[in-house]
């Protein structure tokens, strides 16, 4: 379909996921291990890239990749991300990469775009130079097989992608340049997400893998905690304020922590949920907190389940925030 193309190495540096780029990597550097051996500074590069993906992908997105080190780091970044095995991180990476590819291809030569579609994404594209639709309608048209179109466009929500709104003839869907490139970028996203995940990660990058795993686990944990506080509306004002403080990461006093934990446990929250409430505290240690909460719940130590202090005691500690809703309440657990 496309003529044989003299592909410059600069082009390959831009698209490190193509077959040719992979071949070059294979020829020049053999294995990921050797890449690391020859360019030890690449570890920092890989780390930096993944962290920028993790934090929204913006930085990674903007970055211009012209140098060889960036090119070499691509398979390492992918290997680490597969190894971390977090769907969210993988998706973030795939989306960022796909957006980046879209921007690059919009400024790319047509023959390069079509060659890449066909060879890297198995998406054969026919083109048509005729503009027999009147000058205002369509300048240039491309055609892709409908089954590929369906597979790659299925995540697109806009009704303009519905087949009924397309020109479909003899199994080919008509696209303009922008749409074609959008489809190719999506194919790239799918390729990353559905790629072979059983990649060896060189030893030198294993620390990065575990660092990422821990970070992601912790972030998930924190998210869970934020989620949970919102859902309970029947909290007395004193407790509400304490939870608010906990959420914001205030350094709570021992008594304050005790009040929260005993209150929640007596209201039927489980250990896990109660521990999560403290996860934003500056000195938070999951292990320690769990131990204390278990103790208060009667699971450990004295085997007695502790109750929160009475309103009077709370007043003495300056924790009470009595308002109208507290009418006749003598003990926070009475609050409805």
């Amino acid at each position: 379909m496309t003529s044989k193309l003299e592909v410059t190495s600069e082009l390959l540096l831009k698209y490190p996921f193509t077959k040719e780029a992979k071949a070059i990597l294979r020829n020049e550097n053999k294995t990921l291990k050797e890449v690391l051996l020859n360019y030890p500074e690449i570890i920092g590069k890989v780390r930096e890239k993944i962290f920028s993906v993790l934090h929204g992908g913006r930085a990674y997105f903007r970055e211009e990749e012209k140098n060889y080190l960036d090119f070499l780091s691509y398979p390492l970044v992918l290997a680490v991300i597969y190894k971390v095995n977090d769907e969210n991180l993988l998706l973030k990476f795939a989306v960022a990469e796909s957006k980046r590819l879209f921007l690059k291809l919009m400024n790319e030569r047509e023959e390069i775009v079509l060659k890449m579609a066909n060879e890297t994404f198995n998406l054969p594209v026919l083109r048509d130079q005729e503009t027999n639709w009147g000058e205002k309608f369509i300048a240039k048209k491309y055609y892709v097989p409908m089954e590929k179109y369906l597979a790659y466009s299925k995540k697109f929500r806009d009704t303009s992608w519905k087949l009924i709104n397309r020109n479909l003839m003899k199994g080919f869907v008509e696209l303009n340049k922008r749409e074609l490139i959008r489809l190719i970028s999506e194919a790239y996203k799918v390729k990353i997400i559905e790629g072979e995940r059983n990649v060896e990660v060189p030893k030198e990058l294993e620390t990065l893998v575990s660092e990422l795993k821990e970070k992601i686990a912790r972030e998930k944990f924190l998210k869970g905690a934020k989620h949970f506080i919102k859902r309970d509306k029947s909290l007395p004002p004193c407790i509400q304020e304490l939870l608010e403080k906990a959420k914001k990461g205030f350094d709570l006093s021992h008594v304050e922590r005790l009040v929260i934990a005993t209150f929640l446990l007596n209201r039927g929250y489980d250990i896990e949920e109660t521990v999560k409430v403290f996860s934003e505290l500056p000195d938070f240690s999951e292990e320690k907190t769990r131990y204390q909460v278990e103790h208060l719940s009667g699971l450990k130590g004295s085997k007695t389940k502790y109750s929160p202090p009475s309103c009077e005691t709370l007043k003495a500690y300056g924790i009470c925030r009595k308002d109208e809703s507290c009418k006749n309440v003598k003990h926070p657990l009475q609050y409805k």
């Binding site: 309608f137 009924i164 479909l168």
Partner: protein, 411 residues
Amino acid sequence: MNGEKKLIKKFFHEYFKKNKKLIKYPDEIERREFGFTFYQKPGMYRHISFNSLKELTEFLEWNTPINSHYSSAFFKNPAEREMEKKGWIGAEIVFDIDADHLSIPKDAFSFTWKCNKCGESGFGRKEKCSSCGSYSTSLVFWPNTKNLREAKKEAEKVLFNFLMEDFGLNEKDLLVNFSGQRGYHIHLKKKSFYKLKQKERREILDYLKGVGWKYDLWFRKRGEVVYGPGVFDPGWKGIIARSYSELLSRKEKLTELEISKRKIEEMREKSSLIKNNLQEKPAIWSNESFKLTKKEIGKIVESLLRKNRCSIDETVALDLKKLIRIPNTLHGKTGFQVKTVQIEDLDMFNPLKEAVLETDESVKIKTGIIPEIDLKGEKIGPYKFEEVEVPLSTAVLFILKGEAKLSEPRN
């Protein structure tokens, strides 16, 4: 074994014995799951697999299932019971066109009813028993030339307007079967479609059903002129424009468009002008000499979509592991052949002639309630508790419907 059961078993056995060569499908047989039902045995026996067509045809001959199904899907381990263990590889897409789902007049159907409470029965569709007043009645569906003709028309529409034209499929990508009772199955056998999952299949179905069009994507306003679909356009746009143009040629049909009488009157007067506009590139839908509002255009398109869309059973097309009748086996409620029809023969195909087995034998039976049926070009019935002698295949149909018994025991 009672006489009827013997007769049914023998009928199916003989058929499978003599017609092994007709059973050529499914392909990649070792990747398919099979499921069968047997006469007067409840439930379906499924999760069965075969290594070759020979194994399958021998199974059919010796076990005489009355309904034989295979999975449209290909599995790594088709005989496993749990889906995860089966290992889905891909699946044909099968379009089920059933007279039941078409909007055709009720008199194109033949029913008899039976009261589940007192056993009373009669012709037609009845929800309330005329004898005891119970609402627990069951309907017996009888083959009927009229609704089968409608189902065939629908199948032809799906094939010719959509699958072959828009999807570009040819005869070797498609397999068409009479379903054995009231419709047709169209199998899409093109390998590159097998991997498509539910979402993509839903989109194909939406296309065939004419779902999801958007005005702004079909029409553009430039000054006073509204440009839109033209008769030379591909896909749905072309179908709509041509259908519109056709109505304009047969002016009495214009009332099918749900717009005001006054507007239809104007359309009649200006029909040749409007038709010419539809041939422009881009086609013109509204201009100074014939004005349509956005709302009117919307109504016209909607009416034409309704007229041209396909009626296809959704569950069959979307189910990635659906069991489908094996082509050229027999249907357990009729004894008719689930006959493969060549696309070029579809036009002349009459299932009540060609899918009814040829038999020399005739059988004496006592009937229940049976409406008039056109079988093999002859009118049979109606019968109401009569003793008659009919061809074997007719007797089989009546027995399978539960509306006949043998007059005398046979061997």
